[in-house]
Amino acid sequence: MSRRSLSGRNAVRFFSSNSVPIMFILIIAVCVPIVGFSPAFLLNEIVTRFSRNAFLILSLLIPIMAGMGLNFGMTLGAMAAEIALIFTSDWQIWGIPGVVLAMIISIPISTVLGLLCGKILNAARGREMITSYIISFFMNGVYQLVVLYMMGSIIPIVHNNIKLPRGYGIRSSVDLTRIRKCLDNVLAVNIGGVRIPLLTVAIIVLMCLVIVWFRRTKLGQDMRAVGQDMEVARAAGINVERTRLISIVISTVLAGIGMVIYLQNMGDMATYSSHSQIGMFCIAALLVGGASVDRASIGNVFLGVILFHTMFILAPAAGAKITGNEVIGEYFRVFVSYGVITIALIMYETKKRREKAGMGELLAAAQREEEKKHA
């Protein structure tokens, strides 16, 4: 009897702590029959989007570990990758060498941006998320200043086909056809009509292993300590500011590399908008996978990227089927992304408050008990 009620309570806890993924599974379960995509098509799409996005989402894990919340500043890494790709395109280095070179060029740029972002976040302790969110907007302005006005005028850009007709500034779209899927096509295998880009998947798996390894290093341990209680960590002699700074730099650099992988898959780069929504979609995907502001695992990344992007594929078609209007599905997926982030943030804050109140309740209960004893 008591065991059953216990397992019942466990089930309730399981559902309430995994409400977001479960909700998504339900949405998908409803949408799949409505849309009627063939399984092969759906799987193909999911695999493509998984290989495109997973690395980017992995870049979010480390700041969460260090207690800095969802790193909206990952956009900075994406900007670094775009600048790197503009250069490699201009130098006309294509194929795998182009991709590798772009990754290499993005690293110093990401590092500098990450250091800047980390410094600012250290000054805005306790408000990291809103600050990193505003930083991404701020740096977007700076990025436009560089790419739209300085490239071609101050920063040498040789080829006219990526420049705006006026002679400076980069066109709103940069053609990456010649590096398109160059990573994805290496070692790609076809299983039952589903094309699996083994190299990209291998890179993602390798990254996961690196993260697992990183958690077991001294630095990883320090980050977890800093993430849970900065003051205790400081009292134990851990350099809190530096540890936080490093976590943001790592995240930005990984986001940069992830963005190169993302863009080589797309084969086309929207110079002024590719990065602007990437942060939001990555964060939403991670949260859909069951992560929260203070806790996220590799499992959350994988589950999240699959669920979120399945919804992404299905929503417009489902919207079109139901209302006869395809646009509504696009709005729906944006709404869901924002909604998921909102819910995750609310759950995080209420949990924080409940923990505080819980302590008081415990004390009061103990007292009541004692009073009963005395009475």
Partner: protein, 527 residues
């Protein structure tokens, strides 16, 4: 053995905080493996002495100390706790310093984890060393064994009972191989009876291992049970240093509270024998660190009742609970009517007022002017300083009336400020306290709680504040309940003094009673 230099020698330690002498010529010697019990009232200087010994930053920030500390015969100066740790001094503070989501092992070896080199760390530096989990577990277990207590080293701190958290902290100190001296600051305050006994046993084991322990507690029996020496401090002076075997609880109590000079008593009026104005029955208050349990207390019309007791025993919880700032239960009757608890507004409507001990957190609008601070509660509760407009539909702030009342209290309480418009945060502590009093006076209450009115303010302001309270009581006939850690100050202006110990009223005595009697009550039910 005897010709060896003692482990610790503190010579002529003096310390003053902004002209306030808090330690005077402290001399202390400890041998290897000695257990020393340090007792004294709050504010006697125990914690300051320990902070000096542990190299806490706030000592340097407030101008350092005089005198010298010798460790194994060598003079040492600690600029930070890390220096002290390097010399083998460990301290377990009253507040836990643990990472909530880590296991006991991870906390015991926090930032001192055993590490393995790897290729990556050769390239990128030591922080990429892998942590050697296996070694970590053995080291943690060794420390736990050394303590002689059993705790599960795999357990997450969050899920631990309070006592185990305390033991984890102790194990962390013990895991430091260089540890020679361990300072335990009221370690038994959070423990159950059994756990406390276990801790005492483990202190003995540590002592056998040659680790000296300084044990600070209010539970005198524990001192007698476990210590070799008892050191009693009072008002920044070391008054006694005797072997524990040669003393007793009553004697220690006498040393703790006994004053050499008898301070001036209140104006010598007899204790009022008026009827009860407030009746408190079975009150409990959930104020963290100041829990109140089952308090029953009658306050008489027109008296000044003092509530004293050691810190953390619950005296502060009483007014905070009744005034609705912390969750509370029980029953409170004022002038024959029951006062609903947990509703600040209701108390204020009945003309009860409260001057909080937390001046900056609760007492003041730091960023606002004196005018606002003084007039605000009266404006909100009694609609004072408001001009009705449009037939009372709009209640407009009456700046002139506010300025007048502020000026009145500035003159009356001699608040030193540039103008009534000055911001509260720019005033000194003493003047801020006067603003808090003015705020309560402006409410024209029938009944006033004043909590620690002289904490952290200078002598001159202290006298002024006490005088103002007494005057308010005598001239307006307001009943005052004053809560203070300083017994002498209570004896100066109160008619009766209730002593709180262990969250309960241990007894009520006329203020003229001997201080020893109060001292006995203070430690009677200490938790």
């Amino acid at each position: 053995m005897s010709n060896q230099a003692p482990l610790l020698e503190m010579k002529n330690i003096r310390k003053n905080f902004f002209g306030n002498q808090v330690l005077e010529d402290i001399n202390l010697t400890m041998q290897k493996g000695e257990v020393l019990g340090l007792v004294g009232e709050n504010g006697a200087g125990k914690s300051t002495l320990m902070k000096i010994l542990f190299g806490m930053n706030e000592i340097q920030e407030t101008g350092g100390y005089e005198g010298e500390i010798l460790l194994n015969g060598e003079k040492v100066t600690f600029n930070s706790p890390f220096d002290a740790l390097a010399h083998g001094i460990g301290m377990v503070h009253q507040e836990f310093s643990l990472i909530p989501g880590f296991t006991a092992t991870e906390n015991i070896l926090l930032n001192r984890e055993p590490q393995k080199k790897s290729v990556m760390s050769e390239i990128f530096g030591d922080r990429l060393n892998l942590i050697n989990r296996k070694n970590m577990e053995t080291q943690a277990q060794t420390a736990i064994d050394k303590m002689g207590m059993h705790i599960d080293r795999h357990m997450i701190i969050n899920g631990m009972p309070v006592g185990h958290k305390q033991f984890t902290e102790i194990a962390r100190e013990l895991s430091k191989e260089q540890l020679q001296l361990l300072i335990l600051d009221e370690p038994t305050a959070v423990l159950t009876e059994q756990e406390a006994q276990a801790l005492l046993a483990s202190i003995r084991i540590m002592s056998e291992h040659g680790i000296a322990v300084i044990f600070i507690t209010h539970r005198l029996q524990e001192i007698l049970d476990v210590c070799d020496t008892v050191v009693v401090m009072r008002d920044g002076v070391l008054v006694q240093n005797v072997p524990a075997a040669k003393t007793s609880i009553p004697e220690i109590t006498r040393w703790m509270v006994g004053r050499n000079v008898s301070t001036s008593q209140s104006d010598g009026r007899p204790v009022p024998e008026t009827e009860t104005v407030m009746k408190i029955e079975h009150l409990w208050v959930d104020m963290p660190g100041e829990t109140v349990r089952d308090v029953c207390l009658d306050v008489r019309q027109g008296e000044i009742l003092g509530i004293g007791g050691l810190a953390g025993q619950g005296k502060l919880g009483i007014p905070n609970g009744i005034m609705g700032l912390y969750a509370s239960g029980g029953s409170v009757t004022f002038e024959g009517e029951s006062v609903p608890l947990n509703q600040p507004r209701n108390c204020l409507d009945r003309q009860l007022a409260f001057v909080s001990e937390d001046r900056r957190g609760v007492g003041l609008l730091l960023d606002e002017s004196l005018e606002w601070n003084i007039a605000f509660p009266a404006m909100q509760i009694h609609d004072k300083f408001l001009k009705p407009m449009l037939g009372g539909l709009i209640k407009w702030r009456d700046e002139k009336a506010i300025e007048q009342v502020t000026q009145k209290y500035i003159d009356e309480l001699q608040i030193r400020c540039t103008s009534p418009n000055q911001k509260a945060k720019e005033l000194s502590g003493g003047n801020q306290q006067k603003v808090c009093l003015a705020k309560a006076f402006a409410l024209e209450p029938k009944f006033l709680f004043v909590s620690e009115p002289t904490r952290g303010i200078d002598v001159g302001a202290k006298a002024l504040v006490l005088k103002a309270l007494q005057k308010f009581n005598r001239e307006s006939g307001v009943t005052i309940v004053m809560i203070s850690s300083e017994l002498e100050e209570l004896r100066q202006i109160c008619d009766r003094i209730a002593i709180v110990s262990g969250g309960r009223i241990a007894g009520i005595l006329p203020a003229t009673e001997d201080s020893e009697r109060f001292g006995e009550l203070m430690i009677s039910q200490v938790i």
